[in-house]
């Protein structure tokens, strides 16, 4: 009997937080709806949530949001692959040559906080008004966290693991591939996850700014047509995609990482 009560309490606790979160969100949406309907909020600046929800169908039927999503996703994948390969390689090289690390790490960290999106005209001059500009913007914005986390991961390898490698007479290459790299992988993956999120933000942002490509361009088009409900619906779609993207990456990370 006591067991059953304890179990019920546990399941109640595990559901309580998400239910409160969802409830708060629904309450907020309803509040906005009411405030707009009674005229406390200007409906020409903020469309009613009910109108935004109603616009979703239109985005699928008339605005080809699925194709646009595929376009943006392809750009993200391209930037993601490039940033993983280049970022991890640069991080490893910097960590292996301490002079290079001491010389450049601060620059990379500073670069991470720079508003790179403002440099989009330069990228357009170099790559033209095409997908490469968008991919490269995503790539460069995602590079610093991957580099920094790779350095952190390799440098943070526990000394005893390195000593185990030394006690087995490993060569430098074996030490790297069999001990340093696998030990650093969880931290590297955190960098890749952060980098991919930065890439997604910058890719959608650049699409919006240069009015080219997938979801960002759609938001730009809808805003220019003053289709406020559609604009907000598209923004909500991008937010949903980002949340989904984050969840998938988190699951992938858990799947790739064995028990610590």
């Amino acid at each position: 009997m006591t067991l059953v009560v304890a179990h019920t309490r546990r399941s109640y606790r595990s559901y309580a937080a998400p239910m409160v979160g969802l409830g708060s969100f629904i309450a907020f949406v309803l509040l906005v709806e009411v405030l707009i309907r009674i005229g406390a909020l200007n409906r020409f600046i903020i469309p009613a949530p009910s109108e935004i929800i109603a616009s979703f169908g239109r985005l699928f039927l008339e605005e080809n949001i699925v194709q646009r999503f595929i376009f943006t996703a392809a750009e993200c994948i391209a930037a993601g692959v490039m940033v993983t390969v280049c970022g991890v390689t640069i991080g490893v090289v910097m960590q292996r040559f301490s002079l290079l690390q001491r010389a450049c790490e601060t620059w990379v960290a500073a670069f991470a906080s720079a508003p790179l999106v403002l440099a989009y005209p330069l990228f357009m001059v170099i790559f033209g008004r095409n997908a490469w500009t968008i991919i490269m913007m995503g790539f460069f914005s995602a590079l610093p966290p991957v580099i920094l986390k790779t350095i952190e991961g390799i440098s943070g390898t526990r000394k005893v693991l390195v000593n185990v490698g030394r006690s087995f007479n490993l060569t430098g290459t074996q030490q790297f591939w069999k001990i340093l790299f696998p030990a650093a992988l969880p931290t590297i993956f955190v960098g890749v996850r952060l980098g991919l999120i930065f890439a997604l933000i910058n890719i959608v942002g650049t699409e919006f700014l240069i009015n080219f490509g997938g979801l960002g361009q759609l938001i730009n088009d809808l805003a220019e047509r003053y289709d406020l409900a559609g604009t907000y619906a598209a923004i909500c779609f991008v937010i949903l995609v980002s949340v989904l993207f984050f969840i998938v990456l988190e699951k992938a990370e858990r799947w790739l990482r064995p028990v610590d």
Partner: protein, 279 residues
Amino acid sequence: MALAQASADAILVADDIFVQFNTPEGPITAVDNVSFKVRPSEFFSVIGPSGCGKSTLFNVIGGLLGQHQGVVSVGGETISGPHKSIGMVFQEESTFPWRTVVDNVAFPLELVGMPKGKRAERARHFIRMVGLDGFENRYPGELSGGMRQRVSLARTLASEPKILLMDEPFAALDEQTRLLLGDKVLQIQQQLKQTTLLITHNITEAVQMSDRILVMTYRPGKVKRIVDIDLPRPRTSEIVSSEAFGRYVAQIWNDLREEANRGMRDEEKHMLNQDERTA
């Protein structure tokens, strides 16, 4: 010449080991002219108070510390770095968290290029030896501290070293687990006739397992005495209740008490000096 003679009946010889570290407070001599030899199949322990240079000695013999004077030789061959004849078990948890138990143990076999099937079979043999059968496909994160140390031990044994070198491998474990693991190590050592050098600060552990115990002084670490442990073999942890065992423990504690006191006073003095400097 003396070294060559000693090497004739010893598998491991440490001759005149001297290690000094440069610190902001000046040079500190960690190990001072330590010499000993370990015979084949012998269980030899080095015991001393904290700060006597035991772990430094472990690193010198394992070839992990280059900056020392004196000679370490294995089977008559002078060594100047990690050597395949010496297998090391570390004090800290040292399993690879990204590998399963069987892959951890198979690690040294993978390095020598043994085919996958054969090395898995060989690894399972050593896993059984340390009593972890049934846990082959678990990750270290799913095991207790004692089980992880057994994985480390099995991994080192899988490389089939001539000398098993252990640095306080049970230091982080509770007393009961420590005694039971001591039994396991003894059983394996007797089964394999494995030459073993154990670095420890635990007197009961040293007496329970060793044929001889080298007692070190507090800093600088010198040889105070080498004690022969004349207890019957095969041994188990049951021996701790015997009268002879108690006598050996008392005898070694007599040697160590003065050194441990000196270490404690030195540590207190060091802390007071630090406080004065920061004040």
